[in-house]
Symmetry: C2
Subunit: 303 residues, 2 copies
């Protein structure tokens, strides 16, 4: 048996991004279903933008355990819906008060604040629905995915990280406190994406426990890497390149890895995290290639 030809990463990435867009398009209610304005705004918030890093993680981790792509679509959609809801709420005037996201007006600017609030609320609900709905899946597996998503999203995960973030404006933060914030704010959902991918592959969790632990370690490093790179990009890039308002961390007087470590040390920290992520997967076979490439991709946005 000859080895199957592995398409290059960029081709794989484009394919997953496209199938995620299709899956989200199917899961989101059509814009002609009442209430139409809400559904139109939900689609505006979710579709047609973003690198879908979390969806890529679900699929890359799922390939490690040969999970069925259709099962991974549900997990990928769920994490992207949670991510999208958090952006809509985070951009609102009472939070970051941002007007630009993925090169487009934010939801509260394009629609209104009340609609943005409800869009975020309804997208969160839809994320859990996406994991609960596929018929024919093993219910035990579905429940575990829902548990992973809920613990990553709630007050002890992403929403908790946001709360720490808003309290941090204008405050000095130790490196430990900064890491604690980011582990919650962005790390938890990125970690959940990878774990949901691995858990989508087997109805029993015991036969993949070593793989699960390794992906967990990888995902914790990549989650932090993602944030460090984000801080570097925010400090460096201009608004046009970034597709969202640049330099806003400094403007909002928010502590970042760059403000804490300086640009050079922030880069070195990112390189170390990338190496650690690679090392975690080293004992696994070549089916881990997408996770490795994805870590490189996340890192090389910045250096």
């Amino acid at each position: 048996m000859s080895a199957p030809t592995v398409p290059p990463f960029t081709e794989w990435m484009r394919r997953i991004q496209e199938r995620t867009e299709s899956a989200l398009d199917r899961i989101l209610p059509a814009a002609n279903i009442a209430p139409t304005r809400l559904h139109e705004a939900m689609r505006y918030a979710v579709l047609g933008g973003g690198k879908r890093v979390r969806a890529l993680l679900v699929h890359a981790a799922g390939e490690l355990v040969a999970a069925a792509p259709t099962r991974l679509d549900a997990g990928a959609s769920a994490v992207e819906l949670i991510h999208a809801y958090s952006l809509v709420h985070d951009d609102m005037p009472c939070m970051d008060n941002d007007v630009l996201r993925r090169g487009k007006p934010t939801v509260h600017v394009e629609y209104d604040e009340a609609t943005a609030l409800l869009v975020g609320d309804a997208l969160q609900t839809l994320a859990f629905q996406a994991l609960a709905d596929p018929p024919g899946d093993a219910a035990g597996g579905q429940i575990e995915l829902i548990r992973l998503l809920a613990s990553a999203s709630g007050s002890r995960g992403m929403a908790g990280g946001q709360a720490i973030d808003i309290a941090a404006v204008g405050q000095h933060m130790s490196r430990e406190a900064l890491e604690f914030m980011h582990v919650h704010k962005t790390g938890a959902l990125i970690r959940a994406a990878a774990l949901i991918g691995v858990r989508s592959g087997a109805s029993s969790s015991t036969d993949t426990s070593d793989t699960f632990e390794r992906v967990d370690h990888y995902a914790r490093r990549v989650g932090l890497l993602f944030q460090v790179v984000d801080d570097i990009l925010d400090a460096e890039a201009d608004t046009a390149t970034l597709g969202k308002t640049a330099g806003k961390d400094a403007e909002h007087d928010k502590p970042t890895y760059v403000s804490l470590l300086g640009l050079a040390d922030a880069r070195r920290f990112a390189e170390g995290l990338l190496a650690d992520a690679h090392a975690a997967l080293a004992p696994l076979d070549k089916s881990s290639v997408r996770l490795l490439e994805l870590a490189d991709y996340i890192a090389h946005r910045a250096f």
Copy 2:
């Protein structure tokens, strides 16, 4: 075997309210867990108030199928958490801009807007976690409860009803449009509460299908009844009696059953809904007594 003594409704109600309060207290993260301010605000939003009508419905419907009370606690907590999140977001300045709820300052007044936004977000997550978490439950049953809660809460349920509500300010609304709004805004979650109660009783759904259909019919009538009574109370009561800002519907120029039908016809409509709810359960045995009493209780808040 002599018939067991059935405690009077008020005693039963107090017992369920107390055990729901305890269940919510256990499910909510302690206020000394980081982020502490968020967790304190979540507890402020949920604990120590409210009639827990939705929790009462879960337990009353669960008694019909002899569901284990501890299983019903999870469902009761989940619907109360969804309800609490919706109140926190609904009270925010970009929605109803209300300052008083259950006799206390609303969350964005007591804390701040950003915290209120995150409190609502995290309470929604916690609701799904409450249904997914109990170990040892049949996973298939848990998934079905999550589906019921998600479809009642999202853009085609409660959040959609809120969107219709904010679009309705200052608009003329037909009776059909008003009913469509309320079926979503308050009816969907009340219906889900009763259905979650029934579904908590059996791992298989087939053996209770007649009961399920009857409770579904009952719950649709009670959901509407609840809103009509709310409209009557809002038109009649003063702020001190209601524990929230009274007369706000008229002040906000929102269409209500009272503004559409007048007070007398709104009362007659409520009486008809109550009779219909009773009729739906008539063929069932005396285990339906709590559901009947609960419908009476909801109605008699107003007449």
